[in-house]
């Protein structure tokens, strides 16, 4: 197929097809959601329609992936990286809506619009994955963030939810201002907002050490650091994750992070490869701080949602290692990591939703004591999620290979990041302290006297757990197919020096470790 010529409006529309389909469908669903009185039946119906729309858009994105088309110039990118990031985002969207349908019923939130807000947030994320212009990055981030702010406070009866939403909003808006100032300074240094043009002008005009550009990159990094909850910009995450409804927490932890990292990687690899020496130490420092802070504080948590919040911070650190490596494998390693992390996070939160008792009461790790004796399948599922988040071989499935590919990207990059790789491995060992604690509590501690067994698992929630477990274990057996697809057409525009060794590395990477 010939590449899209984005200067022709019809071709630009075609290149944005899945994004536009999701936005248009979500707008129609919003009308339908607001049409009737709020009720559980209506909430369920809109939820099912939203899931159907997500599946259609996902199929469209995967079909586009196999078209292998590219694009010349213009504000959006058409490449494998975009479509695979879309697939990960839409998988998270599907899980979120499935869990929300059941959770809304249990918590008595008859708000049909909650599903539509997820769809709007996801269309913003798809824009982020496609963005090849700082303006589109900004629009995508804001469409995503504004929808998720209101999602965090969707349970109007919950004071904790409102508090979390306010913290998320204030810190998110604060971060957006930094992001924008960074964009303004990059625009000031280069005179353009197009990522490819920024890169070529930095090289041609020798701007790699211009103070405007370096300060701009720094401010952009602060803004993105807030959005992906990297230390020291992570303080909001545990509070917000704790206060939000569980499906939305999973969405914020996995899918929002996936979209933000997709945009972060694209901006850094496409716009600033020439300034690698300037930003690499900053990104590496951020990665080290995030890995250490997330895993160390995670050890002290007794509330499982807060524990998973620190786990999510730690995973942001591992993903930053892939970015700091700056090699052609970083993109595929990051995509695989995000897929594995999405599966494990949604599976774990589905179990937490089953364990929730309502009344705005947090779920503690000790509530899982002896779960094996009353709900063995649930305990087994949760165990696999924990092992996958830890990156345990075989039983952790995809989680192990996720870390493996990130390590590989770090060690095989043109400037090998040995220190980062060592810190990644050491902090993973530390994280065993809290992941295995959950497993230990479930399987080895006795069930406390008089504690009631969790209620029956609703069908959609069970489907999410089962799907996640199967996908994690399958990806643990055959991880190479996804990674090969991700490597095939990763960001056509990346002008890095090590394009040739990538082909040989992809075959080496699939050998069993």
């Amino acid at each position: 197929m010939p590449p899209f010529d984005l200067s022709i409006p019809a071709q630009l529309t075609a290149a944005l097809g899945p994004d536009l389909l999701l936005m248009g469908g979500a707008s129609l669903l919003l009308l339908w959601a607001a049409w009737r009185e709020p009720s559980q039946a209506h909430q369920r119906a809109v939820g099912y329609a939203s899931m159907a729309l997500t599946i259609v858009v996902g199929a469209y994105a995967i079909w586009s992936l196999y078209q292998l088309r590219s694009a010349t110039g213009g504000p959006i990118a058409v490449d494998n990286f975009r479509w695979m990031a879309d697939a990960v985002i839409l998988l998270g969207t599907l899980f979120t809506i499935a869990l929300s349908i059941d959770d809304n019923e249990r918590e008595n939130i008859p708000v049909a619009e909650s599903h539509v807000l997820v769809l709007f947030a996801s269309s913003g994320m798809m824009l982020l994955a496609a963005a090849q212009d700082l303006m589109i990055v900004f629009l995508g981030i804001e469409l995503m963030s504004l929808s998720v702010y209101s999602q965090a406070g969707i349970n109007r009866r919950s004071a904790r939810g409102a508090e979390g939403a306010l913290k998320y909003f204030l810190l998110g808006a604060f971060a957006t201002a930094f992001l924008l100032y960074g964009m303004a300074l990059v625009y000031g240094a280069t005179g353009t907002t197009n990522l490819a043009d920024i890169s070529s002008r930095v090289t041609r005009l020798g701007l790699a050490h211009s103070p405007l550009l370096v300060i701009g990159i720094g401010l952009l990094l602060i803004g993105f650091g807030f959005k992906v909850a990297a230390a020291p910009f992570h303080m909001w995450a545990p509070d917000v994750y704790d206060g939000s409804p569980s499906p939305i927490t999973a969405y914020m932890a996995a899918t929002v992070k996936a979209a933000a990292f997709a945009a972060l990687l694209r901006v850094w690899m496409e716009a600033f490869p020439a300034a690698f020496a300037a930003w690499q130490p900053a990104v590496a420092g951020l990665a080290v701080a995030t890995m250490i802070v997330g895993n160390a504080i995670g050890l002290a948590q007794r509330n499982i949602k807060r524990m998973l919040a620190y786990s999510s911070i730690a995973h942001a650190g591992f993903l930053l290692v892939a970015l700091a490596a700056g090699s052609t494998q970083s993109g595929s390693a990051m995509l695989f990591y995000l897929l594995a992390y999405t599966l494990a996070t949604f599976g774990a939160f589905a179990v937490i939703i089953v364990m929730a008792r309502g009344n705005d009461r947090p779920v503690m790790i000790d509530d899982f004591a002896g779960l094996w004796s009353v709900r063995p399948w649930l305990a087994l599922g949760m165990g696999i999620m924990m092992l996958s988040l830890l990156g345990f071989p075989v039983f952790g499935g995809a989680g192990f290979f996720a870390k493996w590919y990130v390590l590989q990207a770090a060690l095989q990059s043109p400037t090998p990041q040995t220190t980062l790789a060592v810190i990644l491995v050491l902090t993973t060992v530390v994280s065993a302290g809290y992941y295995l604690y959950v497993v230990m509590v479930m399987f080895m501690k006795p069930r406390p006297e008089g504690s009631i067994a969790p209620g029956a698992t609703p069908a959609l929630t069970r489907a999410v757990v089962v799907f996640s477990v199967i996908a994690i274990l399958l990806l643990g057996i055959v991880p190479d197919r996804f990674v090969r697809l991700a490597r095939a057409g990763i960001m056509h525009a990346v002008p890095t020096a090590d394009a040739a060794p990538a082909a040989t590395a992809s075959t080496a990477g699939t050998a069993t470790p």
């Binding site: 700082l134 303006m135 900004f138 629009l139 804001e142 504004l146 702010y149 209101s150 406070g153 109007r156 004071a159 904790r160 409102a162 508090e163 979390g164 939403a165 306010l166 913290k167 909003f169 204030l170 808006a173 604060f174 957006t176 201002a177 924008l180 100032y181 964009m183 303004a184 300074l185 625009y187 000031g188 005179g191 353009t192 907002t193 545990p238 509070d239 704790d242 206060g243 948590q301 509330n303 807060r306």
Partner: protein, 97 residues
């Protein structure tokens, strides 16, 4: 002209940051964030005197998004006020640890 506008917007942005870091009232925090956004707008307009209309287009996007952000943000502040009868962040501490 460019240097003055850049300097002025940097000062405005810094005042906004200091405001967010030191004040504890949610509405004032939000005003400080808006001040930061407008400082960025000034930077964009300043640079577009050199580079052409691109920066001004960005300013229109920022203004539109800031309006949407105000709508969502004020709604969240009102939702919290209904629970706590205050918008002072010092008194808002259910989530800790």
């Amino acid at each position: 002209m460019l240097a003055e506008s850049l300097f002025f917007s940097a000062v405005l942005f810094t005042i906004g940051v200091i405001g967010v870091l030191t004040r504890r009232n949610a509405i004032i925090l939000f005003m400080c964030v808006e001040l930061m956004l407008n400082a960025v707008n000034l930077t964009f307009v300043g640079f577009s005197r050199v580079y052409g209309a691109g920066g001004q287009v960005f300013v229109f996007l920022v203004m539109t998004v800031a309006a949407a952000e105000a709508a969502v943000g004020l709604a969240i502040i009102i939702a919290l006020f209904r629970h706590r009868h205050t918008v002072d962040l010092q008194n808002i501490n259910l989530l800790k640890g």
